[in-house]
């Protein structure tokens, strides 16, 4: 996530203190992404160095930050450019499944089912936050939470697929089955 551009976006509405930026950022994103105040000041320091914001020290020693014309240009460019999608994000879960299969140390189906429960719980939590955002008419919050919902959904559906493949005895990615001598379980025995 771009803390840099988020801070520029907040400053485009008027000058602010560092701590105010932290609380405004958290409120704007439904407090889903807590922001370290140290991270805010480090980022502000870099923005100042790059000429995207100016800082003015008040009488009480607090700094007030203001966006510059170059900062507004940078922000406009950010909005106009799509966010790059990592071609192959390094996912701990995918790596865990690969090594659960390879090492033979874990019941892969159990790993998948346990993960799906955790994903489902997270999805329920996000959905409750959505209901709250809906009730308070927080459109920006709803858009952000919808994004989290669809990401969690993608993971849950992928896990469903993993389970189905495992049940079919179909070994993904050319990995040898753990017990090649075991016959595959009859698949189409049940009907709902």
């Amino acid at each position: 996530m771009s803390v840099r551009h988020s801070l520029l976006a907040l400053l485009s509405g008027g000058a602010m203190h560092g701590y105010g930026l932290k609380t405004e950022f958290e409120a704007a994103t439904g407090e889903v992404w807590p922001l370290n105040v140290g991270q805010v000041y480090t980022t502000l320091g870099r923005l100042e160095r790059d000429g995207l914001v100016t800082a003015e020290t008040e009488d009480e020693g607090q700094k007030v930050y203001e966006i510059t014309a170059a900062g507004r240009d940078e922000l406009r460019q950010w909005f106009e450019t799509p966010v790059p999608r990592e071609v192959i994000p390094r996912q701990e879960l995918a790596i865990k499944l690969v090594f659960a299969l390879r090492s033979g140390l874990a019941d892969v189906t159990a790993v998948v089912q346990q993960q799906r429960l955790a994903t489902m719980r997270a999805l329920q939590d996000i959905t409750r936050l959505k209901a709250a955002a809906e009730a308070s008419g927080d459109l920006a919050g709803l858009l952000m939470l919808d994004g989290l919902v669809f990401q969690a959904e993608a993971e849950a559906r992928w896990l469903d697929m993993c389970e189905a493949r495992l049940a079919r005895g179909n070994t993904a990615a050319g990995v040898a089955p753990r017990h090649p001598e075991m016959p595959p379980r009859p698949a189409a025995e049940r009907s709902g």
Binding site: M120, R128, A135
Partner: protein, 240 residues
């Protein structure tokens, strides 16, 4: 008292080589006002569970209690009566009668319950109003969107104050946002004390439930829970 209490319920179809275990030793309790989603791949037993819960079918082992009554102990007539009084069903297709308005469709369900026509019409309008559907009350199904039809079907299913609402993929044909309005409606019904059991493939919609149970090969394969307390309803600003 639980609205639905399935105790080690099983359902086997056929025998010998054609024997199919559709549901295997499943226990599930759903309290008044609770929203439970059932998930699992095709053939995992979701629909069988719903059929047993709603008294459309009987378990071959175990027990199903509906509002405290053991369905296994009832004859066909008793079962039909329990079903009519306690259970509402919603399916993927709304199946509204096309020649009747939305309100008349709901009123008809009340008349089947023995309510006189005039009172049934008033009851139907009151129910549609409480669900925020009064604007569509006078329209025919052909004049309603898919989402509106499904909302009216839910109103019809809960007409007469049934204690259990069973929904089998009610959002299958709807887009993402419309599907959410249907989920919202199901949760509103829970707030009035109705128990809801939803079978679905849609994880986003299942996440609206208080509790999600997973079926695999006819068996329970995990559940989120325990259900949150009443403070959950306050936190989420439950409408109604």
């Amino acid at each position: 008292m639980d609205v639905l209490d399935m105790e080690q319920a099983g359902r086997v179809y056929g025998s010998g080589r054609l024997r199919v275990v559709a549901l295997d030793n499943v226990s599930l309790r759903v309290g008044a006002g609770e929203f439970v989603a059932v998930m699992g791949p095709s053939g995992s037993g979701k629909s069988t569970l719903l059929r047993l819960a709603g008294g459309l079918d009987r378990p071959t082992s175990g027990r199903v209690r509906l509002a405290g009554r053991d369905l296994s102990a009832l004859g066909e007539a008793g079962l039909a009566e329990a079903r009519r009084r306690e259970v509402g069903f919603v399916f993927q297709e709304a199946n509204l009668l096309p020649s009747l308005t939305a309100a008349e469709n709901v009123a008809l369900a009340l008349e089947f319950d023995g309510v006189r026509p005039r009172a049934a019409r008033a009851g139907a309008r009151g129910l549609l109003d409480s669900l925020g559907l009064l604007a569509v009350a006078g329209r025919f199904p052909g004049q309603l969107s898919g989402g509106e039809q499904q909302q009216v079907a839910i109103a019809r299913a809960v007409a007469g104050g049934r204690s259990l609402l069973l929904a089998d993929e009610p959002t299958g044909a709807l887009d993402a946002l419309t599907g959410e309005t249907v989920m919202d409606l199901l949760r509103q019904r829970c707030a009035t004390g109705c128990a809801v059991v939803l079978a679905t493939h849609n994880v986003r919609h299942a996440a609206w439930a208080d509790r999600v149970v997973f079926l695999s090969d006819g068996r329970l394969a995990g559940a989120t829970g325990p259900p949150p307390g009443p403070e959950y309803l306050l936190e989420t600003g439950q409408p109604g």
